[in-house]
């Protein structure tokens, strides 16, 4: 390996320069204000967690975790997601105070380095968790919150694809011979490898009607006009009735134009038990967010309550958020030593008017002309009175 140069940072790590920082702040502040108004409380959890608790319960694969060892010899992880730490805090403390909980976060998470660009090892997420509510209205609230949040951020061209992990599992399991076949087919759907799915189904030599059921299910599910078309694949209708309810709530809330149902939607996040969804927007080739119901995760922390949540990736939101036209209205106040008092007063006055004002002594500048270029307005406090430009 070639020696590390002075400017380099570890693989997958990114600097946030002032302009991007400002954009992220807009997303953070807009999101925070919006979520607080909807009754969500923001919380923070530590960057480091135990591998045995959060590390193992998290749905992120082991090889993607950053691990280190503390002074007592315990293995620690840099948190790979926020849902698991929040489940830990909620089950151990917060649920005893209020139920259901509506929590929100804006935090950085870590995934192990990958060699290729475009896959940061540290990125920020903003999201919510509704814990202690198993009703379909919590599912609807999560989806509606996601839709409203995107619209508040000025994003209009997006799509939320909704599936159901339970329904998918029931349909596949009903038609295959064993767990191994189920897992194989499920994995193929996670990658949406339709060709592979069809090949695998045929290679199992299933009873002809079971084979046909699986093949036509995948075809129907991708081109459904109404979710009713899927009912015929189900023997146990509870989950289906649940999804129908969800669809009608979303219709009442006037959200139909942003959503699409796809019952082949599968996630590698193995703690999703029921409804799950992915969010895409024009401008990014990657999902900008995802979410779902994860009752199973709370079980791992010892409390059986329903929970649902979603997270948006800030780096992908930045790609799809409409460009704000940049207006430079910064003011520079230049002074020489004897005029310090007057300069301080002038700068304060300008700041009180809400103008972003930089106070700079002439003595501290080597190249005045180059520095002045960064400002829209320049005030020189000189002996002959103030000069505005």
């Amino acid at each position: 390996m070639s020696p590390i140069r002075k400017f380099e940072k570890p693989l997958g790590m990114r600097d946030t320069f002032p302009k991007i920082f400002a954009k992220k702040e807009v997303i953070r502040q807009t999101g925070m204000e919006f979520l607080r108004l909807r009754g969500f409380d923001f919380i923070q959890t530590p960057t480091l967690e135990y591998y045995d608790t959060v590390g193992k319960a998290s749905a992120i694969v082991d090889s993607s975790l950053f691990k280190l060892v503390d002074s007592q010899g315990n293995t620690l992880v840099l948190r790979p997601d926020m849902t698991t730490p929040i489940a830990r805090v909620a089950t151990s403390k917060l649920l005893k105070e209020k139920i259901p909980l509506r929590l929100a976060y804006f935090a950085n998470v870590f995934r192990a380095q990958q060699l290729e660009g475009g896959r940061p090892a540290e990125f920020e997420q903003m999201g919510i968790e509704i814990i202690g509510d198993s009703s379909v209205y919590a599912d609807a609230e999560a989806i509606l919150t996601a839709i409203r949040l995107l619209k508040t951020l000025g994003i209009e061209d997006f799509k939320i694809t909704i599936g159901n992990a339970g329904i998918l599992e029931a349909i596949i399991k009903k038609n295959v011979q064993d767990q191994q076949q189920f897992e194989e087919l499920h994995n193929l759907l996670v990658q949406k490898n339709i060709v592979g799915f069809e090949e695998a189904v045929i290679s199992y030599n299933l009873a002809i009607e079971k084979e046909q059921t699986l093949l036509s299910f995948v075809e129907d599910a991708t081109e459904m006009k109404s979710i009713r078309e899927i009912a015929k694949y189900l023997y146990e209708k509870d989950a289906f009735i649940y999804m129908e309810q969800l669809a009608s709530i979303l219709e009442i809330a006037d959200a139909t134009s942003y959503i699409a149902f796809d019952f082949t939607l599968a996630s590698h996040m193995n703690y999703y038990t029921g409804m799950l969804f992915e969010v895409f927007a024009t401008g990014s080739g990657f999902p900008i967010g995802n979410g779902g119901r994860y009752d199973g995760l709370l079980d791992e922390f010892g409390i059986e309550v329903g929970a649902i949540g979603f997270g948006f990736r800030i780096d992908h939101l930045l790609e799809v958020i409409p460009q704000q036209s940049e207006t430079n209205d910064e003011v520079l106040v230049l002074f020489v030593a004897p005029q310090l008092a007057e300069a301080l007063e002038t700068a304060e006055k300008l700041r009180a008017q809400g103008k972003r004002t930089t106070l700079q002594s002439m003595e501290g500048l080597d190249n005045l002309a180059a520095f002045e270029k960064h400002f829209a307005e320049i005030v020189r406090i000189g002996q002959g009175g103030n000069v505005h430009e």
Binding site: D157, K159, V195, F286, P287
Partner: protein, 207 residues
Amino acid sequence: MNELTIAMPKGRIFEEAYEMLIEAGFELPENVEMSRKLMIEIPQEKIRFILAKPMDVPTYVEHGVADIGIAGKDVLLEQRREVHELLDLNISKCHIASAGLPNTTLNEIAPRIATKYPTVASDYYREKGEQVEIIGLNGSIELAPMIGLADRIVDIVSTGQTLKENGLVEYEFITDVSSRLIANPASYRMKSERILDLVKRLKKCVK
């Protein structure tokens, strides 16, 4: 109607796939000048082709700069990109196999495999429970066993003519290969109507 960007592999597969699109009813010019061009606009269909090296097609699609693409299964197995595999076009068929000089066995201490497909080769031998050393090459793989760089090569075989001409024989069949229609996950959702329509029309032309 949204603009659709299609990443196509340069060369032989391009022509076969292009003919399939014409057969599927897309209004495309009969002859395309593709000697040096990297992009072809088809305004009447709102389609833009980008011409890439076959190995790079999944990369363009994964990053979303192309909405869909046509890629060989060999490339998909090797690259393991996050793209949706929607349709087997059943064109450009061949297979991946191991080959070597006739009547030879693998070196017992450190068997060496030369290949353009290190991931596929490594997966195959691991699955078989054989520990081998992989040597990555970019072309003329057949040279490796001839001059003693490796015991076996792992490469695509279509007619077997190249192997024969270089005095090599096929040992193990690894997997079948054909061209697939792949899609970017975001495009698949955001431009679902166009993509599903294209899949449906192409499906009818698959032989």
